[in-house]
Amino acid sequence: MNPRVRRSVGVTETLAVAVPAQSASPALDFDALYRDSRDDVFAYVAGLLRDRSAAEDVCAAAFERAYRRRRSFDARRGEPRAWLFGIARNAALDELRRRRRRASLAGDVPDVDAVGAEDAVEGALRRGVVRAALAGLEPRDRDLVALKFFAGLSNREIARVLGVSESNAGTMLHRAVQRLRRACDATP
């Protein structure tokens, strides 16, 4: 018979903490997701569409769509943010398609309201260069830049949103950033 082995000595106090139950597919906390992502979603959509008014409509539609589909969210298929941005991206692309029917996207006038406050001439000049470079990017590159710089998604989340592998998403992002750098350098 094995004698009982004392594993702890000198223990004077024991603290019991309830461990939350982990389910295979935890329910989506939509409110928390909304609070965490509202501004990012808007920034992404506005950066992609370059139209504040349309971005507000698309952002609201995306959240409403996500709210309706919140029960179909499956944690095994990705993070909640990636799921939400996938919905937002689809809504934004639908808006782009609608706009394309009305007029060419290339003819869109950049939304001046989207520019932040200019408090210094040098900064303003620099931002103007970047804004022009962003405007000159291909929509696909602008999509990636908006996901990364405006929405703050990780490469893995971007991969989920785009439906590609993480390395593929990283490579695409890298190329987009390179093109953005070149565009900035080329802009007088």
């Binding site: 939509f30 950066g47 609201a60 709210y67 620099r126 405006f150 990780s154 950033v177 750098r181």
Partner: protein, 383 residues
């Protein structure tokens, strides 16, 4: 072999640097400038959106809940349909196996033996002519001599007889009783024209026979058959066909006499026209003789061999239905199995129709989804 999903180290380094700059750990002018371009949400719009979210978008989620459930279950629709189809098919097979045995008609065991004169014709047509064998005690007599030997004055009348017998036996003894029926038929010189034997462990076991038994030994045959099991019913009927027989025989006699006279006339004919006329008349008479012979042959078979129908029923069979009696739990189980059989069969047929339609629908939905996705991506490509 699947390619490894590996990123270029240089790209990986630059992405790491980008992440560090975005996190504020390092300084990158481009990152800072681009971040400065980040569109900020309008506070008024943010408050409106907050209010809409708090209100649940006017109950949008509740109204679409059912659609959401359908969407979720559609992912598992195919495996579920496959499982259901397999389950139903298995159910049908099990139910069919449990509900009875195989039908044998006729089996080599109970088919008429060539030695007994049984032929395919006799099996296919119960009323067909049974072969006459010396063992049957019936001499083959030329039709021309029937007037002298077949229905001689004072001879027995021609009577066509039929009998039917329903025997009951325990389900396990049905095969033995069936063997006994064949054996008894052989012993009286009869033949088994057709047979059907069902075997099974439950009350569905049974057998049915159509026998041809020499009429003169009909009573003997019925006595032997009755000993094989419990006689539930026994019926006999007879029909006197003497008049028909005599009439046919007289027609034959007249035709034969006419043919004889015509042959004499033919021998004495002088002219070609006379010869031709007699030959034509001879052709007609020969046809009449053939018809009369066939009638006589059929009548003789019907009267010389009696038709005996024997049904062997497993004990308990039909007690709850047509046979009356109590409706036992065993009957209930049997009925339940039959209901399941019918239900499962209908379900399988329905699935056979719905499954391809469902697959087509899913394929169409997948195609539409793919097309929508491509359309969205095109908005980026050409925008």
């Amino acid at each position: 072999m699947r390619r490894r999903d590996v990123m270029d180290p240089e790209v990986e380094r630059e992405l790491a640097a980008l992440d560090a700059a975005l996190a504020g750990e390092t300084v990158d002018e481009l990152v800072r400038a681009v971040r400065a371009q980040r569109p900020e949400i309008r506070q008024e719009f943010a408050r409106e959106l907050d209010a809409r979210v708090e209100a649940g978008f006017g109950g949008a989620g509740r109204g679409r809940r059912r659609l959401s459930v359908v969407r979720v279950s559609r992912r598992t629709l195919m495996p579920a349909l496959g499982a259901a189809a397999s389950l139903l098919a298995a159910l049908v097979v099990v139910a069919s196996l449990s509900s009875g045995g195989e039908e044998m008609q006729p089996s080599p065991q109970n088919a008429p033996s060539p030695a007994r004169g049984g032929t395919a014709e006799s099996l296919a047509e119960p009323s067909a002519k049974p072969p006459v064998t010396p063992e049957a005690g019936d001499r083959v007599v030329p039709e021309e001599t029937l007037s002298a030997t077949g229905v001689a004055p004072g001879a027995a009348r021609r009577v066509e007889r039929q009998a039917s017998l329903v025997l009951t036996a325990p389900a396990g003894e049905v095969p033995e009783v069936s063997d006994g029926v064949i054996r008894a038929t052989d012993e009286v010189g009869g033949i088994v024209a057709s047979s059907s034997v069902s075997t099974g462990d439950d009350g569905r076991a049974g057998a049915s026979f159509q026998l041809r038994v020499p009429t003169r030994r009909l009573d003997d045959a019925l006595a032997r058959l009755s000993k094989l099991g419990h006689v539930r019913s026994r019926t006999q009927s007879s029909q006197d066909v003497t008049g028909t027989f005599v009439s046919a025989r007289e027609r034959l006699d007249e035709s034969l006499a006419e043919r004889k006279g015509l042959l004499r006339q033919l021998a004495a004919a002088d002219t070609r026209n006379e010869t031709a006329s007699i030959r034509e008349r001879l052709r007609i008479v020969r046809a009449e003789i053939s018809s009369a012979r066939a009638s006589l042959r059929r009548l003789r078979i019907r009267t010389d061999y009696s038709v005996v129908g024997v049904n062997v029923v497993a004990e308990g069979e039909g007690d709850g239905g047509a046979g009356g009696g109590n409706w036992t739990p065993r009957d209930a189980v049997r009925d339940a199995v039959r209901v399941l059989e019918v239900f499962a069969g209908a379900a399988v047929v329905s699935l056979a129709v719905l499954l391809p339609l469902g697959l087509l629908g899913l394929a169409a939905a997948a195609g539409a989804r793919q097309a929508r996705r491509r359309g969205r991506e095109r908005a980026l490509s050409t925008g």
